[in-house]
């Protein structure tokens, strides 16, 4: 058999593409072990110090904590509001449907800089002092549409007969929601919440316009970039990455295993 380029070109390309996608991650990870001095530009030797003493660099851990706090609060709010809208969009008939869809679509189609500058100018015009509150307001705003889209897909794939069966079996509307609708929507709501948290946690542009003196992790990195990002920031970035990627892979393997068991049960 002759060597077929067509057969191997695409897999080979895919491998190269993944290398390209993952290089900066590997770089960040490697340099989290750099025995750096002041800035973290050139390789000076391997050390665990940055990992052990991650809060040693002033500001890093505070910024990280602030980002987590903002992420959690924004996620909870955006998920509640967004889930309500998603249910209304799929399950109810109302006249303003297309306007509602447009209003939800627009924030996703607006460049972050416009969202950030717009809110900042509104806060400025209203005389609101920027701080934690304004950042959270901004994050809920840009996460909301993404939550709606994610939950909506789940609601749409939920057979309405299930809810009807609930009420047929003597459950009041509130009980149907609690015992049937909500448990079945949970996976969709969870992935929407994770998405919202990821968006909030990594946001820099909108935050930069509305945070005032509040330092989030991306803001810290941006400010530090002019003189070189400290290795401790690489540690936090790498740690978050590892937690997230392990989580995702576990979830995936688990659902693959469930699938197999379901098929075997048949």
């Amino acid at each position: 058999m002759r060597f077929s380029l067509g057969k191997w070109a695409l897999p080979l390309y895919t491998v190269l593409a993944f290398i390209y996608l993952l290089i900066p991650i590997a770089y960040t990870f490697v340099f989290s072990f750099n025995d750096s001095f002041k800035s973290n530009i050139s390789w000076r030797g391997f050390t665990f110090n940055n990992w052990i003493n991650v809060c040693g660099e002033p500001g890093v851990c505070d910024a990280f904590g602030t980002s987590v706090l903002i992420g959690v609060v924004s996620t909870v709010l955006a998920t509640i509001l967004g889930t309500m809208i998603a249910i209304a969009l799929v399950r109810y008939e109302f006249k303003a449907r297309s306007s509602v869809s447009l209003l939800l679509f627009l924030p996703m189609a607006t460049p972050e800089i416009v969202l950030g500058a717009g809110l900042a100018s509104q806060f400025f015009n209203m005389g609101v002092t920027k701080g934690l509150g304004t950042v959270i307001v901004a994050h809920v705003m840009f996460c909301l549409s993404f939550v709606v889209v994610t939950v909506k897909a789940r609601v749409a794939s939920l057979d309405p007969a299930l809810e009807e069966a609930g009420s047929d079996l003597y459950a009041t509307p509130a009980q149907v929601f609690r015992k049937v609708t909500l448990p079945l929507l949970t996976p969709g709501i969870m992935s929407a919440a994770l998405l919202a948290f990821a968006l909030s946690f990594d946001d820099f542009i909108i935050t930069n316009f509305n945070a005032g003196p509040v330092d989030t992790f991306p803001k810290f990195v941006y400010t530090a970039a002019s003189k070189g990002i400290p290795a401790e920031a690489n540690v936090i970035g790498s740690a978050v990455f590892l937690v997230a990627i392990i989580g995702v892979v576990l979830v995936q393997l688990n659902s693959a295993r469930k699938q197999k068991r379901l098929l075997a049960g048949k």
Binding site: D168, L169, P173, L262
Partner: protein
Amino acid sequence: MATEFVARGSNLDLVGIRKEFPGFTAIDDLDLHIPAGEFFALLGPSGCGKTTTLRLVAGLEEPTSGQILIGGKDVSHTKPHERPVNTVFQSYALFPHMSVLENVAFGLKQRKIADPLKRASEALDLVQLGHLAGRRPQQLSGGQQQRVALARALVNRPSLLLLDEPLGALDLKLRREMQIELKAIQIEVGLTFLHVTHDQEEAMDMADTVAVMNKGRIEQMGAPEKLYDRPKTVFVSKFLGQSNLFIGKIVETSANSLSIDVAGYKISVPKDRAEKHTGKIAIGVRPEKADLFQTKPADSSSENLIGPGEVKDIRFTGVSNQFLVDVPNIGLVTVFEQNEGNSTVELGDQVWISWKVEHSFGLADLPADTLDEE
């Protein structure tokens, strides 16, 4: 819970029910009485309003006007969870996040009935699925899911059990098996069953009474044998089995029979088997009631005879041979002959068709494509 739950089923009465959806009327002035303990089938093509009727009874839709009475009590405006009815949904609608047992116990728990799990396992035993109580619904086959849905509804001992095309998703063989089982269960528990289906064989096989629905109205209602033997409208004669229809004018009326002139042939029908006694009428006969002759039989006052016509098509279905005969001025006539292994009729043969006068039936209406001459 205010509603009482009876063990033997209740009457269901629909009085002047009308249901409009934006842009169309699904049900138009429907009256229906279903006696307690009966297996009642609503039969009709899709879009005829049968599923809407069922959803109205379940409380999943509200009637535009009219009353729904269960056991004599007006439930027209009560919510589904307040009605003593349970439904077996077409898609089964089993809760995927609960085990089979939890599914069956759901209604009992809602009503705070003692020992829900014990009762639920008993109900599962009734449908022979006790051994699968711990599984998730997704792990069961279609037939098993169907039985769980049945158990989940039956365990509540509803006054009325609603079945929405419950066998629709099963393959033919399983369907026939489940028909027998469903009927046996109905007799055992003695509840009132309201079964919605588009499968005429299923309806005729199981139901005590069949109502044929078309365009939001009930066209005819009665015992399956009666309905088949004496359809009253063109729709019923065609939807419930097959019929040959002949259109002609009534030319002679005697004490107990009518003579109709169909393209020059004289066709008779007993007076008590005709819905009208003057003017233009559609006369029908079932294909299996007609016989083929290769030579012209002698005229007889007890038989109707047409022909000769040419055999255009012969279909072999195993149990019977189905012939399509083109009779000049009348058109195509279908005849089923039992396959007794002695048929000599071949394609292109000239044949005569005859049937007993008492097998004819006269319909109240004419086929939609009949030309209105004169």
